[in-house]
Symmetry: C2
Subunit: 220 residues, 2 copies
C-alpha cells in the first residue's frame, strides 16, 4: 500500500482543496486521536449515522490497514453492515475561529472520511486482537491488564472490519480570514482552542488508579 | 407538536431501551450543547457522513422545530440535500467507563439522531435568522455584535432546514456494570469524565476579548 491516499470519486475533495492531505500518517493520527467515530450506512434507502467506538490496525489484513468496529450481536446496524459500504467519519474539533464578519467565522478541525465494504470478523484470533485494540484505543495498554473475554461475552459481540484504503483527510488551522475592510474596522477577532479534557476520575474501588489509566490521563 | 417524541420505525430504540428518552427538552439540550453534528445522506447508493456546524430553532417553521445547516453554494452535499432524507446525529461524549472486564467497558454519552427531509431555505428573513442562529450556536449573542451579511456573502451561502419532528435520544450515565465475580477479584474500575474545554484565546487583535466571547468561555 502506498504511503499516500489516492483520491477516488468518493474521496476527492471538492471544496478548499488546500485543506486536504494525502498522507496516510495523517489518516492514522486522526483515527487514533478521535475517541469515537460516526458510522454511516444505508437502511431502506435512508442514511443512518451512529456514533461508535473504534480502533485502527495499520498492519491489519485489509488493504490500507483495518478499522475495527464492534457491538452487540443484536445491534441492527452491525447485523446489516457486512457486505455493505460504510462511510466512517472521524472529527477532531480544534478551535472556534471567531472573525470580524459572520461569513468569515470558521472552525479549526482535522477530519477523515473512510469508505469501505464492511467484513464480519469471524476468525477467533482476529476477533481477539480487534477487541483488545478497541480497549487499548481508549486506554493504551489496558487490555493486557484485564482477564480474557469468556465464551459468553464473545458470543454476544459482533466485530466488523473496514479497509482503510479509500479515505480523505481534511484540516483547517490558523486564524480568521477576514476581508481587509473588516480588519480595518478595528473589530476584535480571535481563535478559541478547544480540546477534550478529563475531569477527576470517579473510582469504583478503594485502590489506587492503575498505571495504564494514569498514563492516559496525562494526555487528556 | 407534542412535548414527547413518538418513535417511528427509524427512531425506535432497539438496544438498551432504558437509555432512551422521549422528552423533546432532552433533544434540544443535546443539539444545543453539541458544537458540531454529523450529517448523513445517500449519494450514488453509498452513505456519506460529513461533520457540520448547526443551529436549532425550537420555534422554527418545521414540524417539531427546525434544524439549520449551512455551507458554500458549491458544496456538493448541500446541492444534493434538498428533498432528500438526511440523518443528522449529535454526540456528546461524557465519560470513559473503565470496568474490570473488557466486555463491561463502556462510554457515558448523550446522543440524538434526527431524520428529516431537507428543505432549501430561500426566504431572505429565514436565511438571515438561520445564519444568525448558527453564529450564536457557537457564541450566544455574537451575531448582534457583527455587521450584516452582504449580498455577495449571502449569494455564496446555502442554508438547509431539517424538521426536528422525527428523532431519537439516548444516553448512558453512571459507573461500570461489572459482573459480581469480576468485582470480587478486587480489580480497579472507574469513570473518567470527559468534556470539551477551551484553551487560552489567541486574539487576532490588540483590544480586549469582547463580552459575548468571555461569557462563552466561562461555559467551556
Amino acid at each position: 500500500m502506498s504511503a499516500t491516499l489516492s483520491p477516488t470519486a468518493r474521496t476527492r475533495i471538492t471544496r478548499h482543496r488546500e485543506r486536504g492531505s494525502d498522507d496516510r500518517t495523517d489518516l492514522f493520527a486522526i483515527i487514533r486521536e478521535a475517541l469515537v467515530c460516526h458510522v454511516g450506512l444505508v437502511r431502506d434507502g435512508d442514511p443512518v449515522v451512529l456514533p461508535s467506538i473504534h480502533a485502527a490496525d495499520p498492519e491489519g489484513p485489509d488493504e490500507g490497514g483495518t478499522l475495527y468496529l464492534h457491538g452487540s450481536v443484536a445491534a441492527p446496524w452491525l447485523l446489516q453492515a457486512p457486505g455493505q459500504t460504510l462511510c466512517v467519519t472521524f472529527t477532531l474539533v480544534d478551535a472556534a475561529v471567531l472573525a470580524r464578519a459572520a461569513f468569515s467565522h470558521s472552525m479549526n478541525y482535522r477530519s477523515a472520511v473512510v469508505y469501505g465494504a464492511a467484513r464480519c470478523v469471524d476468525d477467533a484470533d482476529e476477533r481477539d486482537r480487534a477487541l483488545r485494540l478497541i480497549v487499548d484505543h481508549v486506554v493504551p495498554g489496558r487490555s493486557a491488564t484485564l482477564r480474557a473475554n469468556n465464551r459468553k461475552e464473545l458470543a454476544a459481540t459482533t466485530v466488523v472490519a473496514v479497509p482503510l484504503a479509500e479515505a480523505s483527510v481534511k484540516a483547517r488551522a490558523g486564524g480568521p480570514n477576514d476581508e481587509p475592510e473588516d480588519v480595518a474596522t478595528g473589530a476584535w477577532a480571535g481563535v478559541v482552542p478547544l480540546s477534550v479534557r478529563a475531569g477527576e476520575v470517579v473510582s469504583d474501588h478503594d485502590g489506587p488508579i492503575p498505571e495504564d489509566v494514569r498514563r492516559r490521563l496525562a494526555d487528556w
